[in-house]
Amino acid sequence: MSEIQKITSLHLDVLKEIGNIGAAHAATALSSLLSRKIDMRVPKVEMVSFNDMMELAGGAETVVVGIYLRIEGDSEGSMFFILPIEQADRFIRRLIGDDLFSFSNTKLSELGVSAMQELGNILSGSYLSALSDFTGMKIFPTVPGLSVDMFGAIISTGLIEISEVSDQVIVINTSIFEEGFDNRNEVHGHFFLLPDPDSFTNIFKALGVG
């Protein structure tokens, strides 16, 4: 299978648009949930090696809060929503009104964890329903799982399927950040959409760029 090699710049633009539409909806959902302004960056679509993938969120050992789900249906793949600990803490504190909550505590409050899970549910749901509306494809997300751990350990879960076919991965990467929180324009969260290699044909067909 060399589907991955046959991707042109037109294809990359289409994938970028998917990231754009998906993340815009998710950012809007997040924004209304928190009553804060959430902005997003122009999506990046990259073909990277597994090891370069680790660098997209600060290195394999960086501890992050990760939401992961599988997409099934007309197009299959993995989706991650990755937040640095401090940013996840800020979101959840605001959601549950508990200023002491932190994902760096070894014993996590159940309320905080389920709030994070729900947040992941809502965001990935709005990302994927936008994607489904845009492409006309039927896609079904699994219930998202939550893990607070090293980025490498979390993201490699989504590389397993791909690694049977390739040593590289196409990643649709959209970053979001909380406006006005700091001036350094630091990236605060990532949506990573990793379509399974066999799914690209379906995505491109659905969008008329087969």
Binding site: A60, I160, S163
Partner: protein, 171 residues
């Protein structure tokens, strides 16, 4: 070939990425970061203080759907490739011992998707391959649902394992 000179250079940490392998000699150490369902396999010769590490992702190269394969990605081909690399470094295979870590399940799903059980399958495949090559498994820290960063010191033959919640542990 034994290097009789006591090397005075400061020790280095050799980093091994996902689906990669390498070999080091004392006083250097070898390390791989962020093992989830992947397994880090260390093979070492305690008489020569040489060790190799392979960071494997999948149990068997028959899963590959590509023409060319990266040997370090699979348990069966990765361990073989590491043994070959250690032979080139002057190690006799019968002296090799193994320590392994990883094979976690990072997310709990009710889905019966096979790739969810990849951690335990990787561990089983590694053990099978070690038996096949008559390499004794001295210690392991496998399973669970935490990511691991591991570092092996061929001088002490200890494998240190760091997890986010449990700190550092040596086996």
């Amino acid at each position: 070939m034994l290097d009789k000179m006591i090397t005075s250079h400061t020790s280095q940490v050799i980093k091994v990425g996902i689906a990669q392998l390498d070999v080091v000699k004392m006083p250097d150490t070898i390390r791989t970061s962020g093992l989830g369902s992947c397994v880090g396999v260390v093979l070492y010769d305690e008489t020569k203080n040489i060790a190799g590490l392979v960071h494997i992702m999948l149990p068997d190269s028959s899963l590959a759907r590509t023409e060319t394969i990266n040997a370090a990605k699979f348990a069966n081909t990765g361990i073989k490739a590491l043994i070959d690399m250690l032979k080139l470094a002057g190690v006799q295979p019968f002296r090799l011992k193994a320590k392994i870590a990883g094979g976690a399940q990072m997310f709990k799903f009710s889905s019966d998707n096979d790739s969810m059980r990849i951690g335990p399958r990787n561990v089983e495949a590694v053990k099978r391959e070690l038996v096949k090559n008559s390499i004794p498994l001295i210690a392991e820290d496998t399973g669970g649902n935490s990511g691991r960063t591991i570092e092996f010191n061929p001088g002490t033959c200890l494998l240190s394992i760091r997890t986010v919640n449990q700190g550092v542990n040596e086996i």
